[in-house]
Structure formats: C-alpha cells, structure tokens
C-alpha cells in the first residue's frame, strides 16, 4: 500500500502544478504593467473603467433576476411534482437536462430566429424586452442545477406530511409555499442560486449574440484590445467564482456541498 500512497501524492502534485501554475501565471502577468517593477496598475485601470462598472453591474443584475425567476419557476414545479404529480417527474427531469444537451449557442440561435422583431413575440425588438429574453435564457441554462438542488432538498423532507399538517392548521397555498416549503429547501435553493450566479456573471455566448452590454462580452473586448488588463480581469473573475462556490459550501454544508457542484452535471 506504500507505493499506492506515493502514487497518490505524485498524482496530486502534478494536478496541483497544472491547476495552480495558470493562476500564478495570470496573477504575475497582471502585475507587469509597469516596465521595471510589479504594480497593481492594471487593476486600478480596470476598476476605474466605467464600462467595467457598468457591465459588471448589468451582469450582477441579470444574475439576481435569473435567480429570482429561476426559484419562482423551479420551486413550485418541483413541489407540485413531489406532492401531486410524481408521474411527471421523468418528463420534467428530462426537460431540465436538455440545456446540457443543447449547446447555448444553438438555443440563442433559435431565439434570434423565433423572436426577431418581425415575429409573433418580438423579444429582440427593444432593449428591455431583450433583457427579459436574456434572463429567460439564463434561467434555461441554469435549469439543470437549479432543479437538481431544489429537488434533492425537497426529497429529503416529507413534503406530503408537511403540507397536510400546514393545511390542517388552516394555512393557504402561499403560506405553505413561503413559510413551510421554502425554509425547508433553503440550502438547496442557495446552492443552486450561487452556482447560477457564478455561471451567469461571466456568460459570453448568450449576451454577445443578443447584443447586450454584459460582463462576458466586455471581457472579450478587453482581451482583444489590451495587454495586461485581461489578466487582472481573469483574477477578478476567478475570485468571484471562488466566492460563489465558497458560499455554497457554507450554506449547503458537508457532505451536500461536495455533491452540489457534481449535481449540475447529472
């Protein structure tokens, strides 16, 4: 068994080198802006760029709206399936997995074809309605992990008994949903929410093709035109992703935390 432990250390060391070197490389590169010494100039320039603030603000806004719409759509649906429609579970699960099967670029291509300004639902006709379409596209992208996290949370509690108990105490549907069901699946909702946030904030394909001023297209634009700022932005993006995942760990608690991220893929 000694040799297998040595092998494990070697595998881990090689993995650590592969995963840490690009981060170190990026950080080092982001400090190189001044010719003769390391400095945080690239970060100062990025933070002072009004487009950085505007696009990041826009994307954070879109992410928050996505999370709200996603929760409003997924929690009642998952609850209803658990309570009344277990038969529909395979169908709904299948639909929530489709965004992993159909690439985002294909979905947005379909939007542009279906919802152009001369169609029956002209979402892309003006900026506000395109924003609505963008949020809906992000809700679609986040369906696989949003649904999984909420469903896992719901299955862990006895929904039927909770609902009957609440009903016998005279609770209405809104009370049941907001006071009984939501608190019980809070950790599932939160891990789904932070994962959604991490994915949506830097999303490129949808935002770029719907032509919205989001953070992802801004990153791409800076990358095409500047030398050191992209590295600073990559470090910032990595910190945002790390923070979102860290919050999942805190809210979802072990051992669920480790599987929450894996759930998005299954």
């Amino acid at each position: 068994m000694k040799s297998s432990r040595l092998g494990a250390w070697v595998a881990l060391a090689i993995g650590a080198i592969y995963f840490l070197v690009p981060l170190i490389g990026t950080f080092e590169f982001s400090l190189r802006m001044r010719r003769d010494q390391y400095s945080f100039d690239a970060y100062a320039i990025v933070f002072a760029d009004p487009r950085f603030q505007a696009t990041l603000g826009y994307s954070v806004m879109m992410a928050i709206l996505t999370i709200i719409v996603g929760i409003a759509l997924v929690v009642p649906t998952a609850y209803w399936i658990e309570l009344r429609m277990p038969k529909a579970r395979p169908l709904v699960e299948f639909i929530t997995l489709l965004p992993l099967v159909i690439p985002a670029i294909v979905i947005v291509f379909g939007y542009l074809h279906l919802y152009n300004s001369s169609s029956f639902l002209p979402f892309t006709a003006n900026e506000r309605s395109t924003d609505v379409l963008l949020v809906c596209s992000y809700v679609t992208l986040s369906l696989p992990y949003m649904y999984r996290s909420v469903d896992t949370g719901l299955r862990a509690v006895d929904v039927r008994t909770l609902t009957e108990a609440a009903e016998s105490l005279g609770a209405g549907w809104t009370t049941i949903l907001f006071k009984v069901i939501f608190p019980n699946v809070r950790s599932g909702i939160l891990s789904g929410a932070f994962l959604t946030f991490a994915v949506v904030v830097g999303e490129f394909t949808m935002a770029s093709l719907l032509d919205r001023p989001a953070f992802g297209p801004y990153l791409q634009l800076v990358g095409a035109n500047r030398a050191y700022e992209p590295s600073a932005l990559a470090i910032i993006a990595f910190i945002v992703t790390w923070a979102s995942m860290g919050l999942i760990q805190i809210f979802a608690r072990a051992p669920k935390g480790a599987t929450a991220a894996a759930d998005r893929t299954t």
Binding site: L12, G15, V101, V106, H113, F238, A254
Partner: protein, 301 residues
C-alpha cells in the same frame, strides 16, 4: 422533444371525466414550467431543426444536410470532434487518477474537501477568463514560456507549440474537464468498498486481478459515461475558444457564432443544419452518458 412534452397531455382524453378533471387540474400546476420550457428551450430548438430541412422558400429539402458534407464544414466538425475527443479522453484519464488519489489514496483528511471544492470552482471557471489565464501563462510572453526560455534556454514556441492551436485549446479545455471528471467520479469511487479489495487480497488475488475482475467492471460505466459528458461539454463550448483563438481555429461553435453574427456561410438554412449537427453530436454523447449512468447506478445498487 416537443413530442415528449405532449405525451402527458395525451393521457387525459381517454380517462373518465372525474379523473379527467383531477388530471388536468394536476397538470395545470405544471403549466408555468411547461410553457417556459416550450418558449425558451423546446420551440427555439425545434424551429432550427425544422429550418435545417427547408430551403429559403420554406419547402422541404435535404440539400442543407447534403451541404454539411462539403469539405470546409466537414473540416470544422472534424477538428471540433478531435479537440473534444482529446480533451475528454485526457480529462477522463487524468481526472480518474486524481479522483483515485483523493478518494482511495489514503492522503491526509483535509485534501479531499479541498480538491473537491477547488474542482467545483475550476469546472465553472470556463469561458473568457480561462482563455486569458492560459494566454498569460503559455502565450508568447506568458510566465511559463519566459521562465522556460530564461532558465533552461528552451523555446516552447520553437517546437511548433502555439496556445492558439489544437493542443493549446485542448490544454486549456482540460482546466475545466479534469475537475468535472473528479466531481463526477468521486462518488463512484466511494462506491468501491474496501472489503472488495480485502476479499480479493485474502483470496490470493493480485492488484491486476482486482482491477480486471472487480474495480474496472464496476467503474467502467461511470468512467466511460463521464468521458461522453466531457465530450459534449467541450463540443458545445464557445467562449473559451473564441476568446483564445478569435477565429483562427475553425471549430463548429466558432463557425456557428460567425454564421449567427454575419451569415458567413451565405446560407441561413445551412446554418440551421450546422446547429442540427451539433445537437445530434452532443445529444448522442449525452444519451450515452445517461444510459451508462443508469447502468452504473444499477451496478451499485
């Protein structure tokens, strides 16, 4: 897909009226979700699939599908498949070793949660920032390129390596492929009981016996299924490739991106056929993944 959305509704008409009321009432609770899914997922995809079989006047035709087999489009598919295959096979192999080391390697207790958390972060650290990270590391003036040249005199770029090339993109994709593999495989490796190894050892079995007769038969659906998922994951990725290579590497998602932006193929319906081809490839590999996952779960039960 539109078909399966309707199958449930189709149950209702045959049922007696009292049950009909209850069933349709129950389905009504799913209406918001179903309407959302149809509007933003199923209909947009379906319209492309239909468009792939129409000419510009809307008549049925197979010409678009035929046009997919022209050399330039075929090349795009081929290089996409090669990159996805390389990054998924390497990602699966390395991810497997890493997951094995973490789960079964008898390493200190803090390593496992650390690696899994990092994997959660890294598997989501894709897109444009990832491209920046690899440019800053392995680009012409990247840290590793410069360190190699300064300290060993080895010029990475003299070997023909380029971060904007096939292997550069594959190496970059591995940054989210390996962690994804670790995340999928760790639970499967947990399912391998220590008793099985001990039983094998006490019956006089060697490591070779253990792997051939116990571990691999249990694990292969998980490993192979995860590799298929990784393949689809790489095949549909746009942002990383676009930010890294611009349009210098003609993989399918990049061609499709350019087509959506400016009709570079000069044929709208060929664009739909291109999208259809992508769905078929990612669909087949995902179907394989789901099927193999089912096998893996049955095997574990």
């Amino acid at each position: 897909m539109a078909l399966s959305a309707q199958t449930g509704v189709a149950v209702a008409p045959g049922a007696p009226s009292s049950i009909l009321d209850r069933i349709s009432w129950s389905w009504l609770g799913l209406a918001p979700f179903m309407i959302f899914a149809i509007l933003f997922l199923i209909a947009p995809t379906a319209i492309l699939m239909i468009g792939a079989f129409q000419d510009s006047a809307g008549h049925f035709t197979l010409v678009n599908i035929q046009n997919l087999f022209q050399p330039s489009v075929l090349d795009a598919y081929w290089i996409s498949i090669e990159i996805s295959a390389a990054s998924s096979l390497l990602g699966a192999a390395i991810g497997f070793l890493l997951a094995w080391a973490v789960v079964k390697g008898a390493l200190p207790g803090w390593i496992r949660p650390t690696v899994l958390t990092f994997s959660g972060v890294a598997s989501n650290f894709a897109g444009v920032p990832l491209a920046f990270a690899f440019l800053a590391t392995l680009g012409r003036v990247g840290l590793v390129t410069i360190l190699l040249r300064t300290f060993t005199g080895f010029d990475l770029y003299s070997t023909g390596f380029n971060i904007l090339s096939f292997w550069g993109l594959t190496l970059t994709y591995l940054y989210f492929q390996i962690p994804l593999m670790v995340l999928i495989l760790a639970p499967a490796l947990d399912g391998l009981r220590t008793e099985w190894r001990e039983a094998c050892d006490s019956l006089g079995g060697t490591a070779w016996h253990y792997w051939r007769d116990i571990a691999l038969p249990v694990l292969w659906p998980s490993v192979f299924g995860a590799a298929l998922l990784l393949f689809a994951n790489a095949f549909g990725a746009v942002a990383t490739a676009y930010a890294l290579t611009g349009s210098s590497l003609d993989i399918v998602p990049i061609v499709l991106y350019a087509q959506i932006r400016g009709d570079v193929l000069h044929d709208q319906n060929l664009g739909y056929a291109l999208a259809l081809g992508m769905i078929i490839i990612t669909g087949v590999s995902n179907a394989g993944y789901i099927w193999l996952r089912g096998r893996a779960e049955r095997g574990r039960a």
